[in-house]
Symmetry: C2
Subunit: 236 residues, 2 copies
């Protein structure tokens, strides 16, 4: 079951922002303890409240981060290749705040948290990169909170579509990255409400057929959505 990462994965991981400043030695020693595994879809990789034993890296596929309370569940984020997740818990040696499950067949690297913390203590370049990654994560969650607190669900949907459009390269037609059920949960609405909201955006120049989104009136949609870099730009 335990498999060292092969060279090809190794290179993908090395290219990650978070390993940009690490010494080759320290990187090698992290890889020595690392696992790589292929998971089928819908596998729960981690469960909230569990101790954070591994830093996870998604090489291929995608992973849903979600949370539960009192029989309710909500999708918090989707992790796509190549990026890490559960970094904060690993660093703080604190329990996971979110659960994670594969959305599709996914290739995941697991690096023991103790190894991460050890290298973090002795490799200043790595520590700096971790700070950058965490600062990025923090800012993303803050933006998300602003989205939730300052916008209605229709506005959240409109801005979400504009963000996806940019990720898809700015074309007027693009595909939804995941199923509407979970999109609804991510946007803090019910599936029924999402269904109706999609229709509610037709007057602003949006058409959705299945998973295909077509922006028929970019100007109108932007006028309605009022996208703002301090909420919608996930790169800064």
């Amino acid at each position: 079951m335990r498999l060292r990462p092969p060279e090809s994965d190794f290179l993908d991981i090395r290219k990650l922002e978070i390993f940009s400043g690490i010494s080759d030695d320290h990187f090698a020693s992290l890889m020595t303890g690392a696992y790589v595994q292929n998971f089928p879809p819908q596998i729960e990789l981690i469960t909230e409240s569990d101790p954070s034993d591994f830093l996870h890296i998604v090489l291929t596929g995608s992973v849903d981060l979600f949370s539960s309370w009192n029989d309710r569940e909500t999708s918090m984020a989707t992790v796509r290749p190549v990026s890490t997740f559960i970094l904060a818990a690993t660093i703080k040696d604190a329990p996971y705040l979110m659960s994670a499950r594969t959305l599709e067949k996914s290739r995941i690297v697991l690096i023991p948290s103790t190894d991460i913390r050890t290298v973090f203590e002795i490799d200043a370049g790595f520590a700096r990169a971790v700070v950058n990654e965490l600062a990025q994560c923090y800012r993303t969650v803050v933006k998300n909170t602003k989205d939730l607190k300052l916008r209605t669900s229709l506005e959240r949907l409109a801005n979400y579509l504009l963000r996806q459009q940019i990720r898809a390269g700015g074309t007027s037609e693009f595909e939804l990255m995941y199923e509407k059920r979970r999109l609804a949960s991510f946007l803090a609405m019910t599936p029924e409400n999402l269904s109706r909201s999609i229709k509610g955006l037709v007057p602003y120049g949006v058409n959705v057929e299945g998973t295909t989104v077509t922006i028929t009136n970019q100007a109108d949609l932007e006028l309605f959505a009022k996208p703002n870099p301090l909420i919608d730009d996930y790169t800064t």
Copy 2:
């Protein structure tokens, strides 16, 4: 206008978690460039989207972090002594995502962001402490998001009161830390809704007179609120 921090402040700052691992030399050099200022209440210290010129530290008083979009405004957090804010923006050299205003007369230290970034690059102990602080901040915001997405406003209020009770030392009677207007905004509700929600908690053993909260039935309140460390414990 520019004032070096006097010795007494200096000591308070030095004791901050974030300066625990820093060398005396580097700390001294940060203090050399630092300002200390007393601000009256309701002064806007920073404005979202502005470049992050200073790391701020609240010595006394309190500061509200808030955000706006499309003529709406929401309170994101309250910073109380002695702690820093806007660390992520400082580290990333990115624009502020939130604005900040004093709630009361407050004594604030300002350390030029460039100085912070410089020391951060050369002082590994400081870098590690920054990581810890950021990881903490990140986890707090994640908890906040879970609170928002998984709970109704009544449940958020109930859990907020339980958290405040703990902060106040666990006594059945304690004071609300700030005005209801802003508490409502922080909890993502209107003042009217908060007013009614407070009444809505009477059946669960809560009485509020002015700013004095009395928990008359701890068990009932907890049964209703279902507090959870993965949402409500801000220390882990």
